[in-house]
Symmetry: C2
Amino acid sequence: MPKLVDHAQRRAALARAVWAVIDREGIEGATVRRVADEAGVSVGGLRHYFDSQRGLVLFAAQEVASAVTARLTAHLEADLPGPERAQRLLEELLPLDAERRVEVDVWLACLMRSRVDGTLAEVRRTAWSGERHVCRLAVAHRCGVAPPGAIGDELQDPLLERRAGRLHVFVDGLTLQAAAFRDRLPPRAVRALLEAELDAVADPV
Amino acid sequence: MPKLVDHAQRRAALARAVWAVIDREGIEGATVRRVADEAGVSVGGLRHYFDSQRGLVLFAAQEVASAVTARLTAHLEADLPGPERAQRLLEELLPLDAERRVEVDVWLACLMRSRVDGTLAEVRRTAWSGERHVCRLAVAHRCGVAPPGAIGDELQDPLLERRAGRLHVFVDGLTLQAAAFRDRLPPRAVRALLEAELDAVADPV
DNA sequence: TCTTATTCAGCACAGTTGTACTGTAATAGA
DNA sequence: TCTATTACAGTACAACTGTGCTGAATAAGA
């Protein structure tokens, strides 16, 4: 046998190449040839790990979810006061630096494509549930109430559950605007808007 | 000379064909051939009105802005109580029926592409300013203060100006979620969320 | 050392793409 | 009636696309 490559790690690296190409040329530029060039392999080599281009893009989208989830769990394991933890959690979803900007760009591109590409529709649904869960966690930590246990569990207080829904919409708007109108919404402004929104979440009990 | 066709009207009809194709197959499906098929002309016939595919897509995006603007001015000329006018104005930006859903899908697709297609970058900027203006108008009409005169003019009350910015983010989030997660956010829920947000805009003066 | 499964590179191929080009039918103005 | 111009259809072509295939280099296990 040859070098005996770590299959999962190799696929992850190729997914990062997809991110780089999408970041540079948009999702329409994410062709097998350009991704292969970006990763420094041939089309045949790429095809050894992904049997179709759709599978490649799908995996790249799933890797975005994985990367975000990893950072979120790290924040949840860290010892932080509730309000600050709420802010940090939601900031992980926003394009506040180069890394998260790429993730958001890839994610939004795949989100749009999921309308006509069925293979992406499933990851879109799970991402919505996951993001809603993060919003509920943020509301719970901001207000000092018990966080929901599993994904899909609503907050006990109906008012706070409603506010989590509103927060979800707001965070998505912040994501879209910060990604599409980068010049109008620099990271500082994004953080300030998010902070104000979290204050409003906890305002009158 | 032949039939002596109305050039502008013909271009508008072809732009609608672009909408239909993007709605059905996404922006990647908006090739000259498929648009020509949709419009019932040949590629040569299409090229007689648009000398490039990018120009075709650009015009289709501009036509979205035109359609929305036309409806907005109609609402502004109608005689309605302030709060209801505010709601109606913002509802024109949201995918609440089939027509507006197509517009939003086309717009979001072009917005994403504008990151890598310079010809779309300009229309993106003007759209942001226009949408911000609509949000300021909505806040002004909801709160009974003087609406801004020209696009770009801020609200006199800094608090209300800040709330217009927040409303802008929220409306974009609502647009994105309603378009991408149609099953989770039916039109009724979208309207309710918007109404609650407008109530919050006018809540404590 | 030999075998054999793994990791890739490279090419082939059919289909699609944007754009340029030619030809043709049609009609307004002379 | 003649002519020049407009509105298309159709074709051509080079570039690019995803995918299938072949084959070579590699190194772990016999």
